[in-house]
Symmetry: C2
Subunit: 362 residues, 2 copies
Amino acid sequence: MAVNRIDPWGSVLVEDYERIIEQFGLEHFDQKIFPDPNRLMRRGIVFAGRDLQRIATCIEEKKPYYVLTGFMPTNDHLHFGNKMVVEMVRYFQDHGAHTYILVADLEASAVRKVSLEEARKRALSFHIPAYIALGLDPAKTTFYFQSQNRDVVQLAFTFAQKITLAEFKAIYGKADPSRIMSALTQSGDILYPQLKERMPGIIPVGVDQDPHIRLTRDIVRRTKETKFFLPSAIMCKYTPSLQGDLKMSKSKPESCIELPEDDAIVKKKIMRAISGGRSTLEEHRRLGGEPEKCMVFELLKQHLIESDDELQKIYDEYKSGRMTAGEIKQLAARKMTAFMEKMREDMKKAASLKLNFISFKT
Amino acid sequence: MAVNRIDPWGSVLVEDYERIIEQFGLEHFDQKIFPDPNRLMRRGIVFAGRDLQRIATCIEEKKPYYVLTGFMPTNDHLHFGNKMVVEMVRYFQDHGAHTYILVADLEASAVRKVSLEEARKRALSFHIPAYIALGLDPAKTTFYFQSQNRDVVQLAFTFAQKITLAEFKAIYGKADPSRIMSALTQSGDILYPQLKERMPGIIPVGVDQDPHIRLTRDIVRRTKETKFFLPSAIMCKYTPSLQGDLKMSKSKPESCIELPEDDAIVKKKIMRAISGGRSTLEEHRRLGGEPEKCMVFELLKQHLIESDDELQKIYDEYKSGRMTAGEIKQLAARKMTAFMEKMREDMKKAASLKLNFISFKT
């Protein structure tokens, strides 16, 4: 049968993302905007952004800009959203960005009842090594603990003056004291590098983090006393659930692979995933598989296969019916366990590296 | 004429305070609860409180407790509300309390656009010397800057989990992001000393600060992970405006004496104040003055005359009509300018004292 080469990276979930772009006034992402697009950019997993041209210009003209992300050091697993963020950070890091990673220990202590000491320990022993294993270059990265960064807290206080409760509700859907403090502190984090050097910055986020970007941009527009650049953002799609929903969810463990995760468990989860295979082998050979509906192909595409040629070959084999659902699952399980093994090894190596933490004066 | 000796400290404004006590469920203050009541306690200017017995017991049994207050280092004037708070702090300081004074520099920077550096300078050059001139014992006082105190910020984050927006609105009448961050940080300040040593504490406040006490008490009731004592509070009436309104207001400068204030200006303001004098001298001699309606007598009673006997004598003279409105104003102006002169001198001396600031580790 003829193989459809138009949009080989398409997915049944495309519609949702088009709606998101329209609803929140995002820019469509076009990989031509940046040099040497990475896998996520090339494959349409990066799908939207805000003020991307400002960052493209910095890259082109070799002007200073920053990329920033953070994590909450609570449990000892990451998810594919974290992995994508790290890969995006790495992309900009490789293209001249000053890189900031913040440890959201204040939020961890408030929301998840993890003490600052415990949060610090977990960040150093798990999250940061995992981020490095996922691709972060520690030599080019500046880290800080939110709880130590008075400038961030001061920014949060100042920003609280710039936004009404009604505006907050319009952005977040709801408003409660905890959400408000947390969001304003995140705005402080997002703009903090600009206190050190006035420069544009880009924040790689998942779709559900876009409200923080909108809030921060609204705040910047109203902050006359300090001239901040509007933060740029770049957004990845979710890694869909193994059952075909928009995103993996911890509340359904069978839908979700954690990073790292046990080989036996990860194999079992992949074997039980929704594939684009037909009801019978005969039918599969005759009609071909449906990679667009296959959550296992989605994993290969988003995370497990770097080479576009290799991925195209699998797509063709599967689409033509020569490769069965069982075979693509076996392939994905092999790739995934190899990935996990390498991640665990790299984390061990990363644990002893020297890191650049900002030290704050009293 | 007969002099009314029942409630010589009464004022036309009593009704308002009875309503406040009822509305907010305060305890009536009875000076018998504490040993050696100070002037403000003896004269009914301290009128209400919360959980006062807990503090009375600490004093009686010589158990540890703390008194805490703070100020925002913005402009270079204080008001009579600050003076009363300092006098209340001094009372507890003299009766065994650990004393904490916080410099609300974070709020000053957010709300009043005073940089942290500027706020620090003003606190050290004006506000703290003024507090010492008004009676604070610096040798027994621990100071801290809000912006340096991570524990307070962490408490604020944690407390944000304990309160809904609706509850916040019920306490404060309205809720906006700025008010919420500021109030939660104040709750952090109020309870901070209990992180260092678990002990009861009392916060001297003006009536308008009671919402912070209520919020903090609600939060304590919901905070299981750290066992805080419910903070006690003690409340002074306002110093009424020179025109007879409930309180002095900066927006009406003629109603309001600042600390310190220029001799010539203060004299003029007192001369123009509402007195309890009659329309004509003849009438005044015949009917007697009305000290209960006299804002000048109120100043003498609240602030300028320490001796109860001396105040009683003035009351009698005025009530009987022997002392005229002009004379009581002259007397008050003399006392006030003497007070201001001493305050300015004491501030100069205080400016060079060594202070106990908490130093925070990074």
